[in-house]
Amino acid sequence: MVRLLYLLLLIFSVGVFAQNTATGPHIEVALVSEHNQVRAGETQWVGILLNPDKDWHTYWLNPGDSGEAPTIQWHSDADIEFGDIHWPLPKPIQVAHLVNYGYEGATLLMVPINLKQATKERVAIRANLSWLVCKEDCIPGWATLTIALPVADTITLSEHQNLFEQTRLNLPEKHKDTAQFEVTSTHLGLQTTLPYQSDWYVFPFRGDVIAHNANQVWAHQPNSAQVVISLSDYFATPSEPLNFLISDGKSGFYVKAIPNNASNANAPPPSQPLWLMLLFAFFGGLILNIMPCVLPILSMKALSFTQSQKTNHWGYSIGVLVSFWLFASIILVLKEAGSAVGWGFHLQEPLLIAGLAFLFTLIAMMLWDLLPKGINLAGVGQSLTGESTFTQQFFTGVLAVIVASPCTAPFMATALGVAMISPMLDTLAIFTALAVGFALPMTLLSLSTRFANLLPKPGAWMQTFKHFLGFLMLATVVWLAWVFLSQTSSFGQLWLLSGLLGFTFLIWLSAKVNRVYCVMSLLLAITFAAFCSVKGTQTTKVVSEQKNNHFSAQKLTELRNNDHVVLVNMTADWCITCKVNEQVALNNADLQALFEDSKVDYLVGDWTNKNQAIYEYLGQYQRSGVPLYVVYAGNHSKQVLPQVLTPDIVINAIQQAKKEINHATSN
């Protein structure tokens, strides 16, 4: 059989020499010209006609899952320039489990020719042709086809002219509109404009781009259309432009798609060098010293150096370092336990916000000398203004880190964002750099008299300066009250502000009365503060705010704490895959009905413009781009959905989450 096949091939390739037609098993091939003559300096057309038997097919330039495109090598005894093949519109041909791209029936592969100079009377054109013709089985063939055409000034149309005319109607057109593509781990998304609605089909030029047997689902927008197709197992170069033919079988056009860099959904998180992040963290820590929340504390501390020489040098720095390490460890432990936390995670807890507001108010009152005399408030006043032991220094460092934490969160975002998604040691290194930067100015002051001498001399001005610093602390309290509002409600904020008023009043009162009443008043102040904080955090938002579906980390935490099922959709206008998902899956009526349930929420994070909160959220899932879909079953479990959705995937995930909550709460 094999030998027979070879014999046949040999006969065809030799036997057809010097002829313009050849016959192979299940196919006839011919070399034809549109004109009977050639004229110098003019573009004319020749072509290879492939005519397979019924049910057999030949291939397009990308044959699809198997097969092989025909190849033609042109030769001539004259100076003729041969152009590229103008491929007619192919169609997808299903062969068992595979899809091939090609042609059933007679197909003309047209090629433009141009005779440069009329130096001869007759020119010979030779085509070394190879093809593959397939039904389910395939048979390759080779032939050398030749035609000779007279050179003349007047040319006449040949008997094949109709064939050329018919083929021209079936050629794709050039398309001027832009196209973009993006790649997820499993799919290719392509966005372009379509001239009209039809059953469009995408043919990639390269064979290693899409799974040829995959379904193609289009989503139509007013000004563009997107399609998402399973990626080929062999696709490896997402950064190069890709060429496609888009055809509905009757007409078609070529597009060159450029990578959608804005999305970059498949890329790993950006890897900035560690040293740069350490540098950021160090300078961040340094600058943190002059933030309104920290400056008052540190100024007092610094001034104390000018008054007393008996200072322990290292207590403060060690206090700062240990506090930052403690923060880092808590974050690492929580992350290890599967919680999604970032720096400033504690600020998402309204009770802590309230606590900080009371602490800052207390410090302001201390700066204004409104605290009762003789009562050493946890040594704070003492350690800030007087001589200091190691322990006092240490706790000044701890206090400084605590008061610095609200400022750190917005300020240190880049380095801390990286620290959150880095390996454990890198996270610790970044936190250490931050701590060193933060502790450096005070440490220098305590170590070196030269630095300490730079500070102004003590005097009456210090009292005024101290009072001024109190306002900086209150500024931070204003900010905290505002954060508290976004976490709770306006009623919650009213509770907090009332609490602060009562608290300050009771502290002020305690300074005015004698010893026993003073202690009672202070205890009352603390009780009142705690009561109002708890009351404030217990208020819930008004209903209209609850269904407002813009993503925020606080809202997500709150909904999860209340045992809600939450679907988070991270999207962007420039994300092709996102748009297809929203049209095909998320707009589904059954799914929308699920959102009517008061225990099911849908949060949308729009990353069209840069947004730090969303960036950090994506980082928690080792993503640096959208789409990202996560379904939470309260705090019990979470499920990251695939990047290409169907209504059922989403519905099943939500129903699964509901079951988990029911199961967890019924136990």
């Binding site: 059989m1 094999v2 096949l5 070879y6 899952d65 198997s66 097969g67 092989e68 190849t71 062969v95 068992a96 489990h97 595979l98 190879s130 593959l132 397939c134 389910e136 089985d137 395939c138 048979i139 390759p140 080779w142 499993t186 064979g207 290693d208 995959a214 379904n215 689902v217 399973s230 080929s232 197992d233 062999y234 490896a236 095909v584 695939p642 290409v644 959705l645 169907t646 209504p647 059922d648 995937i649």
Partner: protein, 202 residues
């Protein structure tokens, strides 16, 4: 639209299943158990500690004919089995389809073509072929002694049925195995295979 959606849903449901079990370069090659042409049951795990080449074949496919007619495939088999590489030729053609052969016929072919595979294995129901996502004949795989898939794809760089191209092409199996045997990583781990479609049981 509804039909499309349903289709998409189905393909989505199965895609993750396939990708979990299926072979992927740089991950553990899935184990399998097949009968060879002498009636012996052969498992991939039998060859742990050795390099294993998987060759999907169909003796009537012109692309396979190209590599056997020119003695290219057999010489690769001889060359590497001598270096203690295990060479498994796998036939996934279903009964009644092109390339399906009896055990006796398979042994005749081996003898007639002076082929030297370690085993010729039959995968009539196509399970192993589908597990490895084998698409064409030939479709080549290299598995390292740790059981990881080191190469998957075409036999060489020129996609044609013309034997004259063999000499001009870069042979990916040779390149991969030589690198591995020299303790170097495989430079091209994944290529698109070319050839005839595998005639799976539908």
């Amino acid at each position: 639209m509804q039909r499309l959606t349903k289709w998409l849903m189905l393909s989505m449901l199965f895609a993750p299943l396939l990708s979990i079990a299926a072979a992927k370069v740089d991950t553990l090659a899935p184990d399998f158990k097949l009968q060879d042409s002498f009636g012996k049951t052969v498992s991939l795990s039998d060859f742990k500690g050795k390099y294993v080449v998987l060759e999907w074949t169909n003796h009537l496919c012109p692309y396979v004919v190209k590599h056997y007619g020119s003695d290219n495939m057999q010489s690769l088999q001889r060359q590497y089995t001598q270096k203690d590489v295990v060479w498994l030729s796998i036939i996934s053609s279903a009964e009644g389809k092109q390339g399906h052969v009896s055990a006796q016929k398979a042994n005749e072919l081996t003898q007639k073509r002076s082929a030297a595979p370690s085993h010729v294995l039959f995968d009539e129901d196509g399970q192993v072929g589908r597990l490895y996502k084998a698409k064409t004949t030939p479709h080549m795989y290299i598995i390292n002694p740790q059981g990881k898939l080191s190469y998957a794809g075409a036999i060489d760089s020129i996609k044609s049925a013309n034997p004259a191209d063999i000499a001009k092409a870069t042979n990916y199996v040779t390149a991969g195995l030589n690198n591995l045997l020299a303790g170097k990583p495989v430079t091209q781990k994944l290529t698109k295979p070319y050839g005839c479609s595998i005639k799976y049981k539908s």
